[in-house]
Structure formats: structure tokens, C-alpha cells
């Protein structure tokens, strides 16, 4: 059983047009044991702009582990609309505009929330975790 995450960045307009790629196997914290739990990929649709949608409730996961969160803004709304991602006490991580995605580690100590900025927005998310 294994889960891998590969990141590829292509920057043809910068620094000579380089591209690079890195791959990691998702392991439990401090071990060589593969992550073995996954929420699946969920899709959320919000008819109205909605604040503080809970994606990761820290209380449901073990602390200081090696959970990983994937989120993609799948909206086809105007380009100035976004999904604001926040951690803990509404500390802003950043804005996912339509088509943007993010992949971050989650320790299980802080909540992760999403806020949609406009009507008719959707996003997808999934958490690989240790329980």
C-alpha cells in the first residue's frame, strides 16, 4: 500500500525556462510506514458565499502526525472569486482562485477552514492521514 505525491513546476518565462519535479511517498511521521487512511476526494458546492467551512477539525485527528491535505478550487466563477484557506484562529494561508490547488502538511493540532467568496462556488478536498 502506497501513496505518492509528485509536484512539477514549469516556468518557461523565468530563469531560462526551467522545469523541475519532485516525488514523495506519504509515510507516517518519523517512520518508513505508509500512510493508511484517506477521506477520499470530496466535492463541496456552496450556492451562497460561505465562511469558515470546516475541512479539518483538529480534534478528530491525532496530534503531531503526518497528515496531508489536498484542496482544489473547481469553480468556474469569475477570476476574482476565491476560496480563502485559513488555519487555526482564522490565520490566512492564502486564496485559491478558480483552478488553483494546494497541498500542505497538517499536524492535527489546528483546524483548517475554507471560505468561499461568491455564489455558486465549488471545491474539492481530501486528507491523507494517520487517524
Amino acid at each position: 500500500m502506497a501513496t505518492t505525491a509528485t509536484f512539477t513546476l514549469s516556468t518557461p518565462d523565468f530563469t531560462g525556462g526551467g522545469s523541475f519535479s519532485v516525488t514523495t511517498t506519504l509515510l507516517k511521521a518519523g517512520t518508513s510506514t505508509a500512510i493508511d487512511q484517506f477521506t477520499g476526494i470530496a466535492r463541496v458546492y456552496k450556492a451562497a458565499a460561505t465562511a469558515d467551512i470546516s475541512l479539518v477539525a483538529a480534534s478528530e485527528y491525532a496530534d503531531n502526525k503526518s497528515h496531508r491535505l489536498y484542496v482544489k478550487n473547481t469553480s468556474t466563477t469569475e477570476p476574482d472569486t476565491y476560496v480563502l484557506m485559513e488555519v487555526g484562529s482564522n490565520e490566512p494561508i492564502g486564496r485559491l482562485f478558480p483552478g488553483d490547488w494546494m497541498y500542505i502538511p497538517v499536524d492535527g493540532t489546528e483546524d483548517i477552514k475554507a471560505t468561499t467568496s461568491a455564489v455558486g462556488m465549488s471545491f474539492e478536498w481530501g486528507l491523507f492521514h494517520e487517524g
Binding site: A5, F7, L9, F38, E91, P98
Partner: protein
Amino acid sequence: MATTATISLTSDITGDALSINESATLTKSGSNVTNLDQFTGVNTIYYAAAQSAVPLIVADSGVPYNYADTTVAHKVYIRNASTSTTCTVQVDIDSSSNEPLGTLHYGDWCFFPWMGTKDIDITTNEVGMTVEFAVISQSVAS
């Protein structure tokens, strides 16, 4: 020509194997055609000693970047490039509150949007660790 970021996730945890391949074109806030216009390149930093909440990306340093903030579509990449399974890099947002985003274990990477309002700090747990990072950003807020 445009900068693109692609993630490929494969997993056999669930009965139906997962295979995600998503690519995003990195454009400025409020536009789906105007590309981000600044790039730090991929930096590699070696820390001889363990670090505690050391600034990795500074929101308003002015050297060499004075990041525009709020209505921006900056993107951040960070990787724990250390070679020991016990090496960790904790990523925090905000040099004052040090809100923990999460911990990158050996070989882990992350990629996320950044508003340019708060510093991004890291804490490393061992001597002789290597961290990679890059910022793709817009020079002026939209």
C-alpha cells in the same frame, strides 16, 4: 507561455485506486490570463544547526522582494530535502503568533497560496538539514 504547477497523487489506500493529475496556470489575482511576473528560483538552504521559527519568506523585507499583499495570487513551494527520516521542518505562518501550518517530514513538499501579509517561518529539529523553497509572485497587487 505560462508558469504551471502540477500535482499528481496516486494511492491504493481505498478499494478504488486514486489517480489525480491536476495542473494550474499561475495567474495574477483577478485574472485568468495575466501571468505571475516574479520568481525567486528554487533556493536551497543548508542549516548547520537546528533552527527555531526562523523566517524563510519575509512578507515585507524589501530585500530582494517587497511582496504586494492581500489581493495577490502568490504561490509558495517548500521541501524538506534532508536525508534522514527523523528530520522535520515545521512550517508556521506569522512570525508573531507562529500559527503552525504543518510539519514536512523527510522528503515531503508543500505548495500553497500566500497572501503576502504574514511571514512564513520554519523550525528544523536536527543539525545539518537542507530545505528548498521558491516563491512565484506578482509584483503589484491586483
